[in-house]
């Protein structure tokens, strides 16, 4: 590969031609960040990882860049999760030292409610199996059924079945939590 980093080639009239990866970047970057965010739960880290994914794509120039980008994003998120577990263990070891706790200002009700709504979805998503969650997130990121099948190794016909189950379980888990929270609020 002469230019692993690629580069905009001039078109017939001298105007730069946007290459395939650049187009993909323009149309998919936000979806990749969202996909990663739902795995690492850190917006800045998700953006860093998304950029890393596209830098790697520039180096490797994959044949099916869209599916490749999400596959690498999933791998990076997995590595990130492992690293987070290691960090957590390390922090647990250091936790013995008393640390002054910062004073927390009570948040306005609207902020609390917003956070609770997010937490409820987060929690509902966690109740899904890893496979169901992965397929649901890939679909939500905009991947087609064949791309999801490629990425996960599922048969094409099984993608619809898995998605049907994942959607139903997500909504059911969310509604269940909502009901539990409502009954707690009624008792208090």
């Amino acid at each position: 590969m002469d230019d692993p980093a690629g580069g905009s080639r001039p078109g017939a009239l001298g105007a730069p031609v946007m290459d395939e990866l650049e187009q993909l970047y323009q149309t998919t970057y936000t979806a990749v960040v969202r996909f990663l965010y739902r795995k690492v739960w850190d917006a800045e880290r998700a953006e860093d990882l998304a950029q890393e994914v596209f830098v790697r794509a520039l180096t490797h120039r994959p044949e099916k860049p869209r599916a490749w980008v999400f596959a690498v994003a999933a791998n990076l998120a997995r590595d990130e999760a492992r690293a987070a577990v290691r960090r957590k263990r390390h922090l647990t070891l250091l936790k013995g030292d008393p640390v002054a706790q910062p004073t927390i200002e009570p948040a306005p009700d609207s902020v609390v409610e917003h956070d609770e709504r997010i937490a409820a979805v987060h929690e509902a998503l966690r109740t899904l199996t890893a496979r169901d969650r992965e397929i649901l997130l890939l679909w939500d990121a905009g991947l087609s059924y064949p791309e999801i099948a490629d990425h996960t190794g599922l048969a094409l016909g099984a993608v619809g079945t898995t998605l049907a189950r994942a959607r139903r379980r997500l909504v059911e888990a969310h509604d269940r939590q909502h009901a539990i929270k409502g009954s707690h609020a009624a008792h208090s």
Binding site: P4, A5, G6, G7, E22, Y25, Q26, Y29, T30, V33, R34, Y37, R38, A43, A46, E47, Q51, F54, V55, R56, L58, T59, R117, I118, V121, H122, A124, L125, L136, L137, W139, D140, S144, Y145, L156, G157, V159, G160, T161, L163, A164, R167, R168, L170, V171, H174
Partner: protein
């Protein structure tokens, strides 16, 4: 009437079916109120899922320009190439040194050309070597004590600092040596260690004087001018610790060290010492040289209780390339 399965309705709404499947489903939906209701329910579930997941979107950031990522990819590719180049160079140097040392060790009667490499080590004992950290061992120690005395009688060979030998032999034309299993490695020495400390009874000798004293066992790379030869006398009857500094065409200096494993290891282990004879002229020549000085290469191999080390600021091209260049220069003279 067969109703449409749930997963097919999901796939239909997700546009995950072929055109013919879609036509089939649409024609059924047109006449089946049950499946129409199921479709509406699945559409609502689908929208609900999308709405729930939308709550988990990160705060909207500003993606960097694609050009920024392009530059980053180019930089990373360049760094990767440099690392590969460096590793290839180190591998070729170690391989060439190992080949030369081993070949000389095993085939003492063969006259060598001006290209390769170090002269063999004298091994006066077959005692197993002391362990040197970070240096892998030769596993061919059975050869170490077989012919040391015979080798002492070899005529001394002069390096090209004074006289160049004609008819150079390229390294790749060396005969295939029944190679013992060698384990070679580069070793990490902190940068300050590049300036070797020559304490104790060190003597700086001329090439002829050093040869008179150490025989033809002075470690050096043929084809490179010798800048300095230093010897530290060992125990009586034992080959001394020898350090030969040679200058590359680029002005950079490399040192070839040969001696008892323990002595060589200790020499390398000392820090922040200076060369007793002052720094070679090349040391401040260029920023490239300085950069290389910051990260000198140090490679070692061991045979019996002797160790051969080469250390110094080295060019990024491979040793084989350097040897070929030297050969070409010598042939043209």
């Amino acid at each position: 009437m067969r109703h449409i399965p749930e997963e097919e309705l999901h796939a239909y709404l997700d546009q995950g079916l072929s055109r013919s499947q879609c036509v089939e489903i649409e024609s059924h939906l047109a006449v089946c109120p049950f499946c129409q209701s199921a479709r509406d329910g699945i559409a609502a579930l689908r929208d609900r899922t999308t709405a729930l997941l939308a709550r988990l979107a990160p705060p909207r950031g500003f993606p960097p320009a694609f050009e920024v990522l392009r530059r980053r990819a180019a930089l990373e590719a360049s760094a990767r190439r440099r690392r590969t180049h460096r590793a290839a160079w180190a591998a070729s140097l170690v391989a060439a040194l190992g080949l030369g040392w081993t070949a000389n060790y095993l085939m003492m009667s063969r006259p060598t050309g001006p290209v390769v490499v170090t002269r063999p080590a004298i091994t006066e004992t077959s005692t197993p070597p002391a362990v040197a950290p970070a240096v892998l061992r030769s596993q061919a120690q059975t050869t170490t004590s077989t012919k040391p005395l015979a080798r002492r009688t070899q005529p001394a060979r002069r390096p090209p600092v004074a006289r160049r030998q004609p008819a150079p032999t390229p390294v790749e034309s060396l005969p295939v040596v029944p190679a013992p299993t060698l384990e070679l490695t580069s070793i990490n020495v902190p940068p300050a260690d590049f300036d070797l400390e020559f304490d104790g009874m060190w003597r700086t000798l001329s090439w002829d004087g050093a040869q008179a004293e150490a025989g033809d066992k002075l470690p050096h790379i043929d084809g490179l001018p010798v800048v300095q030869v230093q010897l530290q006398a060992g125990k009586p009857g034992k080959q001394p610790l020898m350090v030969v500094a040679q200058q590359l065409a680029s002005g950079e200096v490399i040192r070839t060290i040969e001696g008892p494993t323990n002595d060589v290891s200790q020499l390398l282990a000392r820090r922040a010492m200076s060369d007793p004879e002052g720094r070679p002229a090349s040391r401040s020549d260029s920023s490239r040289s300085r950069r290389a000085q910051d990260h000198p290469e140090t490679m070692a191999m061991q045979r019996g209780d002797r160790m051969l080390v080469i250390t110094g600021a080295l060019p990024p091209d491979s040793l084989l390339a350097m040897i070929r260049r030297l050969n070409a220069e010598m042939r043209s003279k």
